[in-house]
Symmetry: C2
Subunit: 203 residues, 2 copies
């Protein structure tokens, strides 16, 4: 499965600013990207990074497009093709493999909060619109084009890493380099009576 992985190296992951510095966010975003690329390859995918700026030292084909996410993805989309977000740090061979296997015109793994984390596009009538509640928009585009649409139920792939609370999920469930990177940078779990959260201790 040809797989686009969109990536923006400039000032990524700003909502992690309470835990990580700007330079650290750039480094962590790159670690997550590489975890995602590894998981895509392990699942039998053939990744291309769609980036706003050429990345050094990356042994994966790149397409450089400076435009915002939606026009850049639509220009590169050539079905059958998957589009996998670069911050899915919990992605594994099994979760992506189950998704690649979906044979509908359109497969969607929703992200939390109405996002779209993975698309499997098998019909060229589909185009993406990532702005706002993209899940609703993608459902609507599929309906307008009379496409058979299937949603895939995966915690791992629904968990995009945007906010400090999401880092707890990386520490609890990550299988790539991202959880190791976090631990090396002093980010650790803190358990209270409710959900687990993260704190940073650089001692």
């Amino acid at each position: 499965m040809d797989t686009l992985v969109p990536y923006t190296p400039q000032q990524p992951k700003s909502r992690l600013g309470a835990i990580l510095s700007g330079q650290e966010r750039t480094a962590f975003a790159r670690v997550m990207l590489e975890d995602v690329l590894n998981a895509v390859r392990e699942a039998g995918g053939d990744p291309t990074v769609l980036t706003t700026e050429r990345l050094r030292d990356l042994a994966v084909p790149q397409v450089v497009d400076e435009r915002p996410l939606s026009p850049a993805v639509n220009a590169a989309l050539d079905p059958p093709m998957a589009v996998v977000m670069a911050d899915l740090a919990l992605a594994t061979r099994a979760s992506l493999g189950r998704t690649f296997d979906v044979s509908a015109d359109l497969g969607i793994v929703p992200g939390r909060g109405g996002g779209t984390n993975v698309l499997i596009v098998r019909d060229a009538a589909f185009s993406v619109d990532y702005h706002g509640n993209s899940l609703a928009d993608h459902r609507a585009i599929a309906a307008e084009q009379d496409l058979d649409c299937r949603e895939i139920d995966s915690f791992r792939l629904s968990t995009d890493i945007d906010e400090p609370v999401d880092l707890a999920e990386v520490l609890l469930h990550g299988t790539g380099r991202a959880p190791t990177w976090l631990r090396e940078h002093g980010v650790r779990l803190q358990t209270s009576d409710g959900r687990v959260c993260v704190v940073r201790s650089d001692e």
Copy 2:
């Protein structure tokens, strides 16, 4: 699959207090419980509600136990048995069916933030400990008892409904009565540039 569904009718879902009154939270928790019971039955499960107080007008067997969650579940646990939380408002026949099919000694669907949302217990050596980071505790108990443990990857079942932001997921993905109840009570999605959230408008 015999399935315990633990439930506390007294002052449930306090963290939804910013959106719902106390009386509404009690009503909404009951609606979610009934959605979960329906999904369990549709998946071929045979539910029993483990409750701290007998519930009226519920056509499902009940076990009343006033103790905290963990001792109450351990007293009622009789493998093979599933334990399914009562606030999994996104549960469906498919997501629970996939979970019931797991044949390992122990199946776990993690909840976000280190919780345990569903357990499939096939070995009587296992006991529950829901306090704190229960996922880590349940993994440790399984390892101590040398049990074969399998985690199931489901967004629907990993999403327990505790906080206002979780209500967005009910509106986006719920298939039972819970999303209808929320809409009838003026809870609706609001889309900003980031994740979707909910607001309440009682006009």
